[in-house]
């Protein structure tokens, strides 16, 4: 399984990307955006106003968007953070989103596209705001738009984007308080998030991973890759340059590195940019980051603007939602992908190990059971070898239920108990959660006591097999379910847990096995990967 996974980066298993959606493929447009100076001027104004006011300059944005010709609306939101922010020592985060809608002429406002620029308290992203306004001015003068375009400037990064999305779809998923939106533009077909660190960029980094490992349709990535190639822009994935040759070994090795980075990103479940929040609402979205590094050749805002203009004009041609290309894929490079049909066997092989081990245990149990057929409680002096299955199934329920209950407690109790704990005990909220988690783990140490009864009731060298059999099947089921929704998370957990689960028996060196099991539990894996991330 692991060998298959490592081989995914190599040519026979990766394919070149291609545009599946016919509506976006055939026409290449001539970009005419020339508002680089205007964008820089607007960015300077925005940065100045922002410095003066400390928060998003809402009135200035409203005025500017209106002068460009958009319908402007604002939305205020606030969110009570579960833990106080360490850097700012605050509980309540509030902000205002400003968005302008460019109504397509003679169209019925049934579909729309979104260009969003997140502005956080640390990263002002003012160059992206300037580019957004300049693009809005350029787009407003064209007559070929078939879908409305929403230009969205959010505050507080991801919180603002989530507040806007929730208000747009009129749902309340995360407990955010936000004012209702006054202007809407129909169903959103696609979205692009833009983050620029300076007004000249050396490369554009594309981010695809979203919340809980959800990915946008591959066609959107193909679209940007086409425009990177057309404009001669340097586009990177995961911050790594694209390997040029795939025939020698270097290219695939670099691809393997990119692939591993993507797997780590996807397994963490964190959205890699504001685009990740759009994916829940089935809006395909990407984040483009402009990075200014030490290269010689730099691109200015006009080049980035032209790429965005071209991409939006292509998205304008869409007749249906993006659905033709893959939704589940891995990317060794920007121009190559691995589809689900090719990467799933890697996880399949790993889970097969568990299945085979379970089968082996089943055969051993059967042998033991088929042996002496004395009835229970025989009068023979030696204790009868009871068939393990019949006794095992009844008393197996207890340890299973306890471990299941422990998992459930780990999931629910810390959040529920947070409030109660802070009322009754003099602890802060973060400490309350951590202490609850530790308490549940400690209570789980009682698990061996409940299994003692199972083991001692039967022959000592056979009793544990039934328990392990059920445990292995359970683990395989859980890992399969996780792999289906978030392949990276499932694969990483399987890669760490399967060897430990398959190898350990009560008959071998106990302390070694115990240490192995603890080290490969998901909590330890999480800790280990955090260290890796900080280090890498």
């Amino acid at each position: 399984g692991i060998a298959w996974f490592l081989a995914l980066a190599f040519p026979p298993l990766t394919q070149r990307t291609y545009m599946s959606e016919n509506a976006m493929g055939s026409t290449m447009v001539e970009e005419q955006f020339a508002g680089g100076d205007r964008a820089r001027g607007l960015a300077r104004d925005f940065a100045a106003h922002r410095r003066k006011s400390g928060a998003l300059p809402v009135a200035w944005l409203e005025r500017t968007m209106r002068s460009v010709g958009l319908e402007v609306y604002t939305q205020s939101f606030s969110r009570r953070l579960p833990f106080p922010d360490e850097t700012h020592e605050r509980y309540m985060v509030s902000g205002t989103n400003v968005y302008g809608i460019l109504r397509a002429p003679r169209a019925a406002s049934t579909e729309s596209l979104v260009l969003t620029v997140p502005c956080g308290p640390d990263s002002t992203n003012s160059q992206a705001v300037g580019l957004l306004l300049a693009l809005a001015a350029h787009f407003r003068g064209q007559i070929y738009w078939a879908k409305d375009i929403i230009f969205l400037v959010t505050e507080q990064d991801l919180l603002g984007t989530e507040a806007w999305l929730e208000a747009y779809h009129d749902v309340n998923v995360t407990g955010m308080q936000s004012s209702p939106l006054q202007g809407r533009a129909g169903a959103i077909q696609a979205a692009v998030a833009l983050e620029l660190s300076s007004d000249v960029v050396t490369s554009l980094d594309v981010a695809v991973e979203g919340l809980n490992g959800q990915l946008p349709n591959l066609d959107l990535l193909n679209l940007f890759q086409t425009f990177c190639q057309k404009g001669g822009l340097l586009c990177t994935l995961q911050g790594k340059l694209q390997p040029q040759d795939w025939t020698s070994v270097d290219g695939p090795l670099q691809g393997l590195q990119t692939l591993l980075l993507m797997v780590l990103q996807q397994a963490s479940g964190r959205p890699h940019g504001p685009h990740g929040l759009f994916l829940r609402y089935r809006v395909e979205a990407l984040t483009i980051r402009g990075i200014n590094s030490f290269r010689q050749y730099k691109y200015d805002l006009v080049a980035v603007g032209k790429a965005l203009e071209g991409a939006f004009r292509k998205l304008n041609h869409l007749l249906e939602r993006l659905h033709q290309s893959y939704f589940f894929y891995l990317l060794p490079a920007l121009a190559r992908f691995v589809s689900i049909g090719l990467y799933m066997p890697a996880a399949g092989f790993l889970l097969l190990v568990l299945g085979l081990k379970a089968l082996e245990l089943w055969m051993q149990l059967h042998e033991a059971g088929v042996g002496p057929e004395e009835p229970r409680g025989a009068s023979g002096p030696s204790p009868p070898v009871l068939p393990a299955q019949s006794v095992g199934l009844a008393s197996l329920v207890a340890p299973l239920l306890i471990s299941q209950a422990m998992g459930l407690a780990l999931y629910i109790l810390p959040v529920l108990g947070q409030h109660v704990a802070t009322q009754h005990f003099p602890v802060a909220e973060a400490e309350a959660v951590v202490l609850t988690l530790l308490a549940i783990y400690a209570a789980g140490l009682a698990l061996p006591h409940s299994t003692q009864r199972v083991v001692s009731a039967q022959a000592p060298d056979r009793g544990w097999m039934a328990l392990k059999l059920v445990a292995l099947i359970y683990l395989a089921l859980q890992l399969a379910c996780i792999t289906l929704t978030n392949f990276s998370l499932g694969f990483l957990l399987a890669a760490t847990m399967v060897p430990a689960a398959a190898l350990t028996t009560p008959c071998g060196p106990r302390p070694l096995y115990a240490a192995l099991l603890v080290l490969t539990s998901p909590a330890a894996t999480l800790l280990g990967s955090l260290f890796l991330w900080r280090g890498a």
Partner: protein, 441 residues
């Protein structure tokens, strides 16, 4: 869509009686009219109206129709055409009837596309033509320009050439002043051989939100996912102190199964019970849902009408070739008698300008408005259309490989067969082979 009221230029054409054998009708039955209204957002709305009682539709090469140039008309944000045909009485006792044909074209010019963001406009910039002469067949050919902003003290706008007469009227509940240019009046066109109306704004207007009309509405679908959703209609009443009722008509296709028990109407946070509700449930594949309600909108409030629905799975052949585009939900229709700020006098249809017929008033205290919300696009759960092919391939493979092998294993029997010694053909072949020197069969 936009908050402003587009004053359409209506073209009304009255058709003459179809060959009733009378003497030729007098010339004064063709009237053409152009009404231009600058909107607060900077766009310009133009409405052409041609009304004639000729018995045939004559080609008009002069007059207002020179302004109808197709390529400029496609730089608009909105256009609407209408044709109205109705019988009219020819005399007071209604002994004979003529047919009236009205052709209307309303367009809203986009200030940003045509005017590059400046709010000044002129006929040449909008239509790329100017008016040179009136239609020779017209009995009346006039251009009205809404200059309501001009009569205020600050005089924000200036119309060039200055109008000779003005006309005041109450339209949509407010008093409006129009500058009148009569093309049949020789003094208007005589000076420069063409009439190019221009409007300049003296003080540049500030960039603030345009004023909202008394009644406007919005509709959207909330919720995400392909199973259920909620249909929301927001009705805004911006009148400061008057409440008025609105008749809301919703036609929802059958594949969005509405749960009428979840219908909630809230105004200002409190529940609002409609005074009349008529609901006709849908029948699958036969008829859509019909929901009609009379809702009282309190003054200065926003009313939210919401109803939850579930998306149905259609039959395989009922999907369109582009099912992922979504399915349309028709707009809701709102009809209301909106209270007007100024009392309107009853109107004499023959003497008043043609555009007054666009704003019918039954009594002087309110005017009738029919609004359409935006249409909606809703995605239904779409199956994977490649599955029949996949299933056929898989089952054929399984049947051929597995079942075929098992069948062979189970039913194939071997029996020994004696090799046959002779046969005429074989002996003949062996003869030939011996002749050639090749070993025999």
């Amino acid at each position: 869509m936009a908050a402003a009221l587009p004053l359409a230029v209506l073209g009304l054409l009255l058709l003459g009686p179809g060959g009733r054998g009378h003497a030729e009708p007098p010339r004064d039955t063709l009237r053409e009219e152009l009404v231009i209204t600058p909107l607060p957002s900077g766009d310009v709305a133009a409405t052409f109206q041609f009304r004639t009682r000729w018995d045939s539709d004559l080609q008009r090469e002069e007059g207002l129709s020179v302004l109808l140039k197709a390529d400029r008309l496609f730089h608009t944000s909105y256009h609407s055409q209408a044709v109205h045909i109705r019988p009219v009485c020819r005399n007071a006792r209604c002994t004979s009837i003529s047919w009236e044909l009205r052709q209307t074209l309303s367009v809203v010019y986009d200030a940003f596309v045509t005017g590059q963001g400046k709010k000044d406009w002129s006929l040449f910039r909008m239509f790329s033509r100017t008016l040179t002469e009136p239609c020779p067949l017209a009995s009346e050919s006039r251009v009205y320009v809404d200059i309501t902003g001009h009569n205020q003290d600050n005089e924000t706008l200036e119309v060039n050439p200055p109008p000779t007469t003005t006309y005041q009227d109450v339209t949509l509940g407010t008093r409006k002043t129009y500058a009148v240019y009569d093309l049949l009046d020789a003094a208007v066109i005589n000076n420069s051989r063409n009439l190019n109306l221009q409007l300049k704004w003296r003080s540049p207007p500030e960039h603030e939100a345009p004023p909202a009309p008394f009644l406007h509405a919005q509709r959207y679908v909330s919720g995400y996912g392909l199973q259920s959703g909620e249909l929301n209609t927001l009705l805004y009443n911006t009148h400061p102190y008057r409440a008025f009722p609105v008749l809301l008509l919703d036609t929802v296709p059958w594949y969005l199964r509405l749960y009428v028990h979840t219908l909630t109407i809230t105004s200002k946070g409190k529940e609002n019970k409609p005074s009349y509700v008529h609901y006709q449930p849908a029948q699958d594949r036969l008829q859509p849902h019909l929901l009609e309600m009379l809702i009282q909108l309190p003054a200065n409030s926003a009313t939210k009408v919401s109803i939850q629905f579930e998306r149905a799975l259609l039959k395989w052949t009922e999907y369109t070739p582009d099912p992922n585009h979504g399915f349309y939900v028709s707009p809701s229709v709102l009809s209301a008698l909106v209270p007007s700020m100024v009392a309107a006098k009853p109107v004499d249809w023959e003497e008043s300008p043609l555009f007054r017929s666009l704003y019918p008033v039954s009594d002087s205290s309110s005017y009738f408005v029919r609004l359409y919300t935006e249409p909606l696009l809703v995605n239904l759960p779409t199956p994977d259309f490649s599955m029949p092919y996949n299933v056929i391939c898989l089952t054929c493979t399984v049947v051929a490989v597995c079942y075929g092998s098992f069948y062979n294993l189970l039913t194939r029997t071997f029996h020994i067969e004696e090799p046959s010694t002779g046969g005429l053909a074989k002996r003949l072949a062996n003869l030939i082979r011996r002749a050639r020197g090749v070993p025999p069969l």
